[in-house]
């Protein structure tokens, strides 16, 4: 068997060269220009937004919206799987979104239903201090401009 990195002058070549050849092919370029690519790309905004929100104040989480997004992504994971042609990019997008929304749901439940009011007050103060520090840094930077 050919070791990795050595391409054979036969039909396949190794995985890497085959992969590169596919990326350069007309088929792939027309896929990049199609709606099957750009729709899921547009949808990636949602999981990326959720992942960015994971480190923010849990009071910013809307329980209703997060639950709705969780079930919506489950439905669209199946949609992406069953649609013709199968859209794995959309599937991956909604899978990531479900994971992120589940994390947010757990943070939400923990913050409002597990922690007591004293712990919440402490966290509130922590986030306010962090926001205050960030604002102070901006204020210090401005006069130098």
């Amino acid at each position: 068997s050919s070791s990795s990195g050595h391409s054979r002058m036969s039909a396949g070549g190794n995985l890497f060269t085959r992969g590169l050849r596919y990326l350069a092919s007309k088929e792939f370029r027309s896929y990049l220009c199609s709606t099957h690519f750009w729709d899921p790309v547009a949808n990636w905004g949602l999981p990326l937004a959720a992942l960015a929100d994971v480190k923010k104040n849990p009071e910013m989480i809307s329980g209703k919206m997060t639950t709705a997004l969780f079930f919506y992504s489950m439905a669209f994971m199946r949609f992406a799987w069953r649609v013709q042609p199968r859209n794995m990019l959309l599937f991956a997008c909604h899978f990531t979104n479900d994971t992120a929304q589940l994390v947010q749901l757990c943070r939400f439940t923990d913050y409002w239903y597990v922690k007591d009011e004293a712990q919440r007050q402490q966290l509130r103060r922590q986030y306010e201090d962090a926001a205050g520090e960030a604002a102070a840094e901006v204020a210090v930077a401005e006069p130098k401009k």
């Binding site: 547009a42 949808n43 949602l46 919206m65 919506y72 604002a135």
Partner: protein, 117 residues
């Protein structure tokens, strides 16, 4: 579970009036995910409308932007795909509208905050 579902559908099939049979059995009809997934997207609109009562400082800027952007882009694409999907179009118009409205609220609130400081 699927045995229960299939039995229930067999029973339901008998009750569907003849006129509605083509719709009921359509390949993008109520027995398929192609119907329920876009229909379920309305839950995002309902959650968005319920969120209108939240104070502006508790809203997430990134989430509202993402919802507005995805709503706008999908509204356009649902008209470009064949066949046109009016259900998907209408739901994404509403997702974009609620997202944009929330975005406006957040931006206004932050501007006011800066003006006060």
């Amino acid at each position: 579970m699927s045995a229960v579902y299939r039995a229930a559908i067999k029973v339901a099939d008998r009750f569907v009036p003849a006129k509605l049979q083509p719709l009921w059995n359509h390949e993008a009809g109520p027995k398929t995910i192609f119907f329920w997934a876009p229909t379920f997207k309305w839950a995002l609109v309902i959650a968005g409308i319920a969120d209108l009562r939240r104070p502006a400082e508790r809203l997430s800027l990134t989430q509202s932007t993402a919802l507005a952007a995805t709503g706008l882009i999908w509204s356009r694409y649902s008209m470009v795909i064949v066949p046109k999907n009016w259900n998907l179009f209408s739901v994404n118009i509403f997702v974009a509208a609620t997202g944009l409205y929330q975005l406006a609220r957040i931006v206004n609130y932050r501007r006011e905050l800066e003006a006060r400081n």
